[in-house]
């Protein structure tokens, strides 16, 4: 099942590539600023069992290109990076790098774009090393803080919508579904962003 969907996704991309001889055309470039909320409601944040909030501010910057396809379809490719953040104990520096590709369909005379696509989300954890002495069964023990740089790579399934205020400015919401083929591990993140685009077709 997993393989079939992925093969379809790849074939769709290839089909779109093949279109370049006809109507496939680089259309616009855009620059994005937004916030990535990772896994809202998934993790516990206090001893009362409260779950993480529905919105966390993790700023990111991205840039992308938009290609026209026949009818009202587009393809967008985008790369971005969240601003590096450090944990309260300074043990880890965290940031997320992503590459994303979407099919976009224009509705309402171009006011609204609906997006379906996929990303590679790379969460980079840079360990700052060191030790800490913590309680352990009534006495205390030395524990070791991470010292390597470790990266997780997730291929995600994305759904989004973008509202165009005008030719240049738009606002986008995008849902990022992790591990959709493994229900036990399925988790969601989302981005809220604004983008500025400009014409590249001339």
């Amino acid at each position: 099942m997993k393989l079939i969907v992925l093969v379809c996704l790849i074939l769709l991309h290839l089909a779109a590539l093949a279109e370049q001889t006809a109507d496939y055309e680089l259309n616009r470039g855009y620059f994005t600023f937004g916030s990535l909320t990772q896994f809202p409601g998934e993790y516990q944040i206090d001893t009362a069992g409260t779950k993480s909030s529905s919105f966390d501010f993790h700023p990111y910057f991205a840039g992308g290109l938009e290609y026209t396809l026949p009818e009202d379809w587009f393809i967008t490719v985008e790369g971005g990076l969240t601003v590096p953040e450090t944990t309260a104990d300074e043990a880890l520096t965290l940031y997320t790098l992503f590459l994303r590709s979407d099919f976009a369909y224009r509705v309402l005379g171009g006011r609204l774009k609906l997006l379906i696509g996929s990303s590679i989300m790379m969460m980079i954890m840079k360990g700052n090393g060191g030790t800490t002495t913590l309680g352990n069964a009534g006495s205390s023990t030395t524990f070791y803080r991470p010292e390597l740089t470790q990266t997780t790579y997730n291929n995600t399934f994305d759904l989004g919508a973008e509202y165009r205020f005008n030719q240049e400015w738009g606002a986008r919401a995008q849902l990022i579904a992790y591990s959709i083929f493994d229900s036990e591990k399925t988790q969601y993140s989302y981005t809220l962003s604004i983008n500025y685009s400009w014409d590249l077709s001339q």
Partner: protein
């Protein structure tokens, strides 16, 4: 430049780091790790007011907590009960066999057996300074203990979790099912390589406090650090350092996907430069 980055870069206060069990990164070499419950037919869990069958259920729930992390490929697989005629797990001393890590020596002739995977057992061993020591004596307040008792280099081959059901006054006997699930989940965290967390609400905090029904961000980061999800980038994005020796089939999707993206960018850029040249 650095100034505004530091202004933006404060994580919510509830995000802390995690710690590791050892000064080297110890981890299972395979991402699917079976978790067994030991039943030696001697009702070893009885002082804890639960049964071995209950423990199977607790283990199932506890594995679910760790398995929920999408950025980690670790899957703890509940593997039911293993029974044996000996009582080495329930009466033996928990220590490592090859004295590599952690450095603890067995004082007792009967060692808890060396295992592959994770074994969870109830211990009736109330000997001083053995499985549940506190300042040199046996402690009823220690809820459980875990040791990686089978290592191959920096790979964990097996870990043993012992629940402290050693006598009739153990603290675990008054714990609710959900608290015992959290205690088991905490020990499974040690079994796969994590140390304690500084955050009181973390599953990996040293004590069992309040409600613990889910991981915290630091728990999730810890298991993602030790067992990261990866794609086969063929060097495109660099390789993961630690767990790359394992002989598991890799997922080629990421590579194809990255190639397609690259293709788009190249086609786009080439067309753009052609247009640019034409316009000139």
């Amino acid at each position: 430049m650095m100034k505004w980055i530091s202004l933006l870069s404060t994580l919510p206060l509830h995000v802390w780091g995690f710690t590791l069990f050892a000064n080297v990164t110890l981890q299972f070499g395979h991402h699917e790790v079976p978790v067994y419950v030991v039943d030696e037919g001697n009702n070893a869990c009885a002082h804890g007011n639960f049964t071995e069958d209950d423990l199977v259920g607790y283990v199932e729930e506890a594995t679910r907590m760790w398995n929920s992390v999408s950025t980690s490929k670790l899957v703890l697989v509940p593997a039911g009960k293993v029974s044996g005629s000996s009582t080495d797990f329930t009466t033996g001393e928990l220590c490592n066999w090859d004295a590599s890590y952690p450095p603890s020596d067995c004082t007792n002739a009967t060692k808890v057996p060396q295992v592959s995977g994770i074994y969870v057992a109830c211990s009736t061993n109330a000997n001083d300074n053995q499985n549940f020591p506190q300042t040199g004596t046996y402690s009823t307040s220690i809820l459980a203990a875990t040791t990686m008792n089978n290592l191959s280099g920096t790979n964990i081959v097996g870990s043993v979790v012992l629940m402290n059901t050693a006598d009739s006054s153990v603290a675990i006997k008054d714990k609710s099912a959900s608290e015992i699930i959290a205690i088991v989940a905490h020990e499974l965290g040690h079994a796969v390589g994590l140390g304690h967390s500084e955050q009181t609400h973390s599953l990996m905090y040293e004590q069992s406090l309040g409600v613990r029904t889910a991981l915290t961000v630091d728990d999730a980061l810890g298991v993602s650090y030790l067992y990261p999800v990866k794609l086969d980038g063929c060097g495109l994005f660099g390789t993961i350092k630690r767990i790359d020796e394992e002989n598991e089939p890799r997922n080629p999707t990421g590579f194809s996907f990255a190639l397609i993206l690259l293709g788009f960018l190249l086609v786009g850029l080439t067309k753009r430069s052609f247009l640019y040249l034409k316009n000139k």
